[in-house]
Assembly symmetry: C2
Homo-oligomer: 227 residues x 2
């Protein structure tokens, strides 16, 4: 997903978050990072286990310049991450398939944020609860106040990790294909459609749990959830 | 994204692709792996650079039990991967947000495939072209035959990597929330909606490249592209 039309926002000066390709458009805009993270639903979290990379999809939430993830205290990888192993997190939203007149310039429009760092386990009860609220209301806004609070036992079974957003980069591609000038001749340009097929994400109709009494209405934070 | 309702298909006997959590539902079904990979649009590719994990989003394609990815030969990570560094690839499709009566049981419905292995660079021209066709027609079916073929120079600038699907696992969660029996009492179950808010992916209306002559129709492989 490297393309000349990509806007790159390198948000920190470290080598691994300094974008080398397409850096002519590099900017320093933390708001763009926040916007991508807030628009995503799940992230991809990578770590190293026994010398090899592992990547898992997981929920997350953002508060200021901290990203939170959580999981079962029984999961081996969470114990390693709680001990401060290095991680890389990516959130990507696919916005369209970019059809070009040439196979070589087929591309996608997207927003992508990458964060490098080390996670820190939260052990304080209030800190854990605050972070879980952030994670919960990211995946399902309104749920924290609506659903039953976590019990002491549930809280004990949940590991919560914080990742600082300092070392991060954002890449955004928008717009039509970037073509070679020689591909804009009539023989090709006059016969081959080129442009963008947008990708949309939408919510379907809520499906009630079979055990739910029929007189319980779907609450507004679900029926009115913005796309 | 660990949940009791998750269906786990461990497709190989190695420790890292043997799912430890939710393994009561483990199956050995390669068709499920293929279906998830075929339904996704982009993958997340993880590798290790200077001892730390890196994860990037990228296009891909599948042919039989081989996954193909590609990129610029100028990208540093592709040179490392071409030399056989270990990788992990994940493709996840988010199918719904699972609202529970309890914050603790908030979940998501999803299909997720994870592959561990080492990529192999393709150097033979015919092998590269065949793999690029697979990648191209995965992201944009019909494009390989419709658009201009890669030139010799473009092919030389493109690194193509193959990853064997042998060491892989699939996790699939469907259905309503899994609740604690004590949460199904009238005080909670009679007042708190629970169920699934489906997530859908759809195509928008094609947006023509500004330089395209107005008499070039959108071809059927784009207008009729299945969701």
């Amino acid at each position: 997903m490297t393309d000349q039309a990509v806007t790159v926002k390198a948000l920190s000066p470290t080598p691994r978050s300094t974008v080398r390709r397409g850096k002519d458009r590099a900017q320093t805009d933390r708001a763009a990072l926040h916007a991508v993270l807030d628009a995503g639903l799940i992230c991809h979290l990578a770590f190293v286990a026994d010398g090899a990379p592992v990547v898992i999809p997981t929920g997350y939430g953002r508060d200021g310049d901290t990203l939170y993830v959580h999981g079962s205290t029984g999961a081996a990888h969470l114990r390693a991450l709680a001990a401060g192993a290095p991680v890389c997190v990516n959130v990507t939203l696919l916005d369209g398939v970019v059809y070009s007149r040439a196979v070589f310039h087929l591309s996608v429009n997207y927003r992508s944020a990458t964060i490098h760092g080390q996670t820190k386990a939260l052990n304080d009860r209030d800190e854990k609860l605050a972070a879980l609220r952030v994670i919960t209301d990211h995946l399902a806004p309104g749920t924290w106040d609506y659903a039953r609070d976590p019990s002491r036992q549930e809280l004990a079974k949940t590991a919560v990790l914080a990742l600082d957003l300092t070392e991060a980069a954002v890449k955004i591609r928008t717009g039509p294909p970037i073509e070679d000038p020689e591909d804009l001749v009539p023989e090709l340009n006059g016969t081959r459609w080129a442009g963008v097929l947008p990708v949309h994400r939408s919510w379907g109709s809520p499906v009630a749990c079979p055990e739910l009494p029929s007189d319980v209405d779907v609450p507004e934070h679900i029926t009115g959830r913005p796309v």
